[in-house]
């Protein structure tokens, strides 16, 4: 029988909220019957997107909270929506790193967005009402 859509809304105020929030999402996904692999990918997306916003989003301006909404659909899909009021930034516009570069030419960093974009089913970005809205379908 198809599962009814479910929804979890969280607000993250900084790095200290990241681990407990991702743990809460893992519990929510487990209770929702989401398999371990998909749950891991959701966990990874939350880590990478939130760290990206917290490390690179605020450049002198006020750092507001990050809204995270997790939605389950009837087809075992997971939609993550991140909302923040930092300056306009589309993470999916970043160029892909060269993951085939040899060790001595390999850059450390720039991998997070690549991991999410590659492992997700679909990603999207929209600037909406002065806020960044980043979506990841797992």
């Amino acid at each position: 029988m198809p599962r009814m859509p479910q929804r979890l809304e969280l607000t993250l105020h900084g790095f200290a909220d990241l681990e407990p929030a991702s743990r809460r999402v893992r519990e929510f996904l487990r209770e929702g019957g989401i398999d371990d692999r998909r749950s891991y990918h959701a966990d990874l997306a939350i880590e990478e997107i939130v760290v990206n916003v917290l490390r690179h989003g605020a450049r002198g301006g006020p750092k507001g909270p990050i809204g995270l909404t997790v939605e389950l659909d009837a087809a075992d899909g997971v939609l993550l929506t991140f909302a923040d009021d930092e300056h306009e930034f589309d993470p999916w516009s970043l160029p892909a790193p060269d993951v085939n570069a040899p060790l001595d030419e390999r850059k450390v960093g720039g991998l997070g967005v690549h991991l999410v974009r590659t492992l997700a089913r679909r990603v999207a970005y929209e600037r909406k009402g002065g806020r960044n809205e980043t979506r990841v379908w797992i």
Binding site: L10, T11, H13, F15, A16, D17, L18, E19, P20, A21, S22, R23, R24, D36, R37, Y40, D43, L44, E47, E48, V51, V99, N100, A101, P102, L103, D104, R106, V108, G109, L111, G112, H114, L115, T118, L119
Partner: protein
Amino acid sequence: MVPPRTSLEPHGFDRLAQEPMKIECTSKDDFTLVALDGRLDVEGVQQVGDAFSFQVTVGRKPAVVDCSRLSFVASLGIGLLVTAAKALSRSGHKLVLLRPSPAVEETLRTAGIHHLMPIVHDDAAVPAALR
């Protein structure tokens, strides 16, 4: 006695349950064995990053990272592995990843890490991987 998991922040986060990341190092004849236990996320890297970088390079010999108890790795954790592999390669040594879980290995391979350091699942494969 384990404290009950009832402490909730105003916005509902339980801050008691997460075990800190652990690192354990053993000096073998031919390599340094470094076992990671926990989540190598932003918090895990803060907890063990300096110790990991030090332990991997201090012995001036190849290193094997036992990933069997590594439950999660994010890009910051992968960066830690790459930085360590670069430091070892400057002295002509390799870093080998041993027994990552399927989920961790999928993340590592998506990042192209298998092009930079061997990933093996059997102790017997370690000597050849270190060469």
